[in-house]
Symmetry: C5
Subunit: 155 residues, 5 copies
């Protein structure tokens, strides 16, 4: 079943292309993701992925890439912004019970739409790119190691 995927390119252009199936879709997202292309929007509150996917998550799938900043902190550059890695301890109170999680977030900027802004305890607003919590690992999200990249036919 042919799928057509819509990207925003590094020049902000709206471009779509055809792939032959869901696997090729992921490969094409990785390939163009490494050029900084991305498809779709960050959902309100950020993407939600399983905790076990965090260590080797392939950020090219979202058009991003992981790096260490000058202070040696793990960060992700994605869609024109830098997000820092933060570990959140489990919560177990009468009102709220949440397992441990890892979050990639940043301080809010003037251009951030309201639907992406979240308030922490104080008045500081921040924006989440993704949160890894609970769930079951999905192999499709993992960074491909040395395996030759099975590029879409005709390239």
């Amino acid at each position: 079943m042919t799928l057509r995927v819509e990207f925003v390119t590094d020049l902000g252009a709206r471009v779509s292309l055809e792939v032959q199936n869901e696997n090729e879709l992921l490969e094409v997202q990785r390939r163009y993701g490494r050029l900084g292309w991305y498809s779709g929007d960050v959902p309100p509150g950020g993407f939600q992925f399983p905790l076990d996917n965090e260590p080797d998550f392939d950020w090219a799938l979202l058009g991003g890439r992981k790096f260490k900043n000058d202070e040696g902190e793990d960060c992700v550059w994605c869609r024109g912004a830098v997000y820092k890695r933060r570990e959140l301890a489990a919560v177990d109170t009468k009102k709220l019970r949440l397992p441990a999680a890892v979050k990639y977030s940043r301080g809010a900027r003037p251009g951030d739409p309201d639907y992406l802004r979240e308030k922490s305890d104080g008045e500081i607003e921040y924006v989440t790119l993704a949160i890894f919590r609970g769930g079951r690992r999905n192999e499709a999200y993992a960074t491909r190691t040395a395996r030759p990249e099975s590029l879409p036919a005709g390239n």
Copy 2:
């Protein structure tokens, strides 16, 4: 008549694909819905479906799935949020007359756009995914039991 349906994938990507007719459209919505893919937006006030469709409604059609939470309550996970099942009694006053209904809703979150927010009697804002009230049952919405899934040709 070939139809092209646009999905948002579990990675937030914008992807469209072709199906041969309206039946195959529903099958493809079910199939990709189970991966968490969905098509289109939740309308203001939530989807409106017939009451008789509630017991066996196939939430994969909306990219969601039903489950029981730790307290044994019926819930639906859909598009990154959890909605609780609530039964609403019929209303019969001089100003308003409404038949009984079942509603799937949740408390509003910072990222929710204004057009989805509704106020209950107090100041609490909530968001409705779907409300089942009146109308005539539509078999197309029902969860398929054991019938082998008639996957689209070529898969």
Copy 3:
């Protein structure tokens, strides 16, 4: 000249399909309109149609249908809301001159976007689906009587 038309389905899905020409476009809008599918948005202030089209306007073209409510009033259900029929007398003052019109409108709801809200003399906000005023009747808008529906080829 093949045309591709984009619909929102009764399940909120984004679906497009091809038709062979403008006549077939209207037939397809009628056919899927009867399933509650619709294409595009209601413009600010509602659709503007000729007054002579009001008596037999085919609301399926907008994904709606006409009915009488319990009080015997003419109403239109369209895109999840009910609009009431109201007759507006002609206006002839120094500041404003407007011919008589028929309007289909409803009270505003929490989910209505600002651009659809209008204020009457008091503080009540309302939303207009369509207003029929002046202009020249367009036969293409009329409800088809008994003529066998010339369905698009291949169905």
Copy 4:
């Protein structure tokens, strides 16, 4: 190089169609523009065209048409609203230097989005459809006189 152009029809529907090249694109915009179809949005502050294009500008390209109102004023009906023709004298002050221009604008209405609203000296808000100022005449914008309309092939 085939181009696909997206229109909003007189019934608000989202329809796209293919043309063979840029000339045919303009012809199709004229042809469907006369039915009130239009493609894309009015940009913030209105369209900007060369002053020499104003006298014979083909408003069908924007889905509009020119007419004289009861007071004999030149107006343009476009996308459900009426815009009046206004001549703006050249401006030559220390702070601002602008050549003479012709503007088509109207008073703002409740449904107008913020990005289209402009404030004149007082508190009155208005919306501009197009402003003709400076620049070099573009023949492609001119109303076709008696030349037989070279309709797209197959019609």
Copy 5:
């Protein structure tokens, strides 16, 4: 791999066309960019490009063009607005460390959406088209010199 790119034309129309690969995509963006066509939106805070790309950046890729204003200042006309070139010195304080940059920006206008507005030290709001800072030069962004334009096949 065929790519389909969506443009907004000089008449605001939504038009898409097919190209055979990423190189042809850039050529087509240049070619139609010179007519004032552009694809996609300016991201919040403006485009981010490498500093070494600034001297010969091909603004046609964004639908714009460079010129000197009456005061001899370097400016870029793009998507209906004029942006001025400003050089920003490097910043090296305890709180913030940023390399030198070149910015193309303008004062905010009534029609500018909130997500594009930024506040400088005072109360003046401005909008950034692009900022050139750090990074590694990308040859694909450079203005083509005398090389015959390799137009897409069939033109």
